[in-house]
Symmetry: C2
Subunit: 248 residues, 2 copies
């Protein structure tokens, strides 16, 4: 459960590990802006010649060496690719926004658990009207940095449930947590493209459940005899799916 | 995913639902102290004659009616048992204390997911030295109140890993998350008494892993190819176990 995973390569490196928006590559020089430079020089106390691991969600993880250290920016050069970008199962998590930081926690867990795509879905009983996508992405990035990930979940634009169902791709299993009962998630889990749909704290309305069931391939599942908070249901459903139909 | 589950009984009642330390029973009168009385009279605006659902982790859930409402206490009488106390699988979660509120979150999730017993375990790399058991229990109680539970996980006294292993009951499967690899949790899951052991953020030491493996029935499991934070590993491991070997 290490929060500072060592790279698979044995190349000596600091424990510093950062996501960068820029595309990385052999000998590519990258200028890291304020927050990253403060972390590397101020927090990690790294200087010119020290190394850091970088990943860009595209080309994997790179060993990079600091070549310039300024007050406002740090320059690094990518010296060696430590790992290719990981592959993750084609699993979406479609979840209604939640209150009180629970959605932030859910974004973190979705990243740790290897969700390919996180889609915020607005439903009738969704009580959260505004959603800070930048903050959600920041939580996913921090989780990816700490857990040694080389891939980030794609963060989809928020959609209404009607839009999600209308545009649901043919051939992608739609598994939704049905408080009124359904088959066990264990029976529903099967390989292939899938999406797990979790309602808000108030659950889906009967009309919404009818609309969801009308999607070809939609499966209503039970998550056991106990009522789970929406964030718990989402994280555990993703975990069970990864264990049974994903890449565990 | 409702956070205000309706009782199985159709008896009209307010949405107020509280855990009480006192033993409940038919016609038993209970005096609810400050925080509970403030919640009922100040927050929920209930008065004499209104109803509340109470559970005591022993006798199930009761419909109770307010008979006195004072500034510092509310008196209620138990009128009818709405539900028997639920049974939960005999699953322990043994987890090292964690930082930054993650242990509070874990206590909440352990309750929602129906863990029978939560045992804080100190290991070599455990960085958290003090643990507020009252706060942990408060998080479990809040989760039980919100999720309609009639049973609470037993909160064990913190123990060292050596004590936990020394006193591990014969016949109870010991499943531990082994970062060095193990069989899939899916293969390890089997009915019967079990305990899931999750290390701290820094993981177990090699000596600790050796000591754990020496326990009869100990099984090292993998939680998939991605590094999980300790709190994520614990919640998902419990969820997968409940789905495959528990009562899903």
């Amino acid at each position: 459960m290490s929060e500072n995973p060592a790279p698979e390569s044995s190349t000596p490196t600091s424990s510093a590990r950062l996501f960068v928006e820029a595309a990385l590559g052999q000998d590519v020089v990258v200028t890291l802006p304020g927050p990253a430079s403060h972390y590397l020089s101020g927090v990690m106390r790294l200087g010119v010649g020290d190394t850091v691991r970088l990943f860009d969600d595209r080309s994997g993880e790179w060993l990079a060496r600091l070549v310039t250290v300024g007050r406002k920016a740090v320059g690094v050069v990518c010296e060696a690719r430590l790992r290719e970008r990981e592959t993750v199962p084609d699993l979406w998590l479609c979840a209604a926004p939640l209150k009180r930081g629970r959605i932030d926690w859910l974004a973190e867990k979705a990243c740790e658990l290897g969700v390919a795509r996180l889609v915020p879905v607005t439903t009738r009983r969704t009580v959260v009207d505004k959603l800070n996508l930048d903050r959600l992405r920041a939580h996913m990035i921090e989780a990816a940095e700490q857990c040694g990930r080389t891939a980030l979940p794609e963060l989809g634009e928020p959609v209404t449930l009607a839009m999600l169902l209308r545009d649901w791709p043919a051939g992608r299993t739609l598994v939704f947590a049905d408080e009124t009962g359904g088959i066990s998630l264990v029976q529903a889990a099967k390989p292939g493209p899938a999406g797990i749909l979790i309602g808000p704290e108030g659950g889906f309305t009967p009309d919404e459940r009818t609309a969801i069931r009308a999607v070809p391939g939609a499966i209503g599942v039970s998550l056991g005899p106990r009522i789970l908070r929406a964030d718990t249901a989402a994280a555990v459903a993703v975990g069970v799916w990864q264990a049974l139909a994903g890449d565990w």
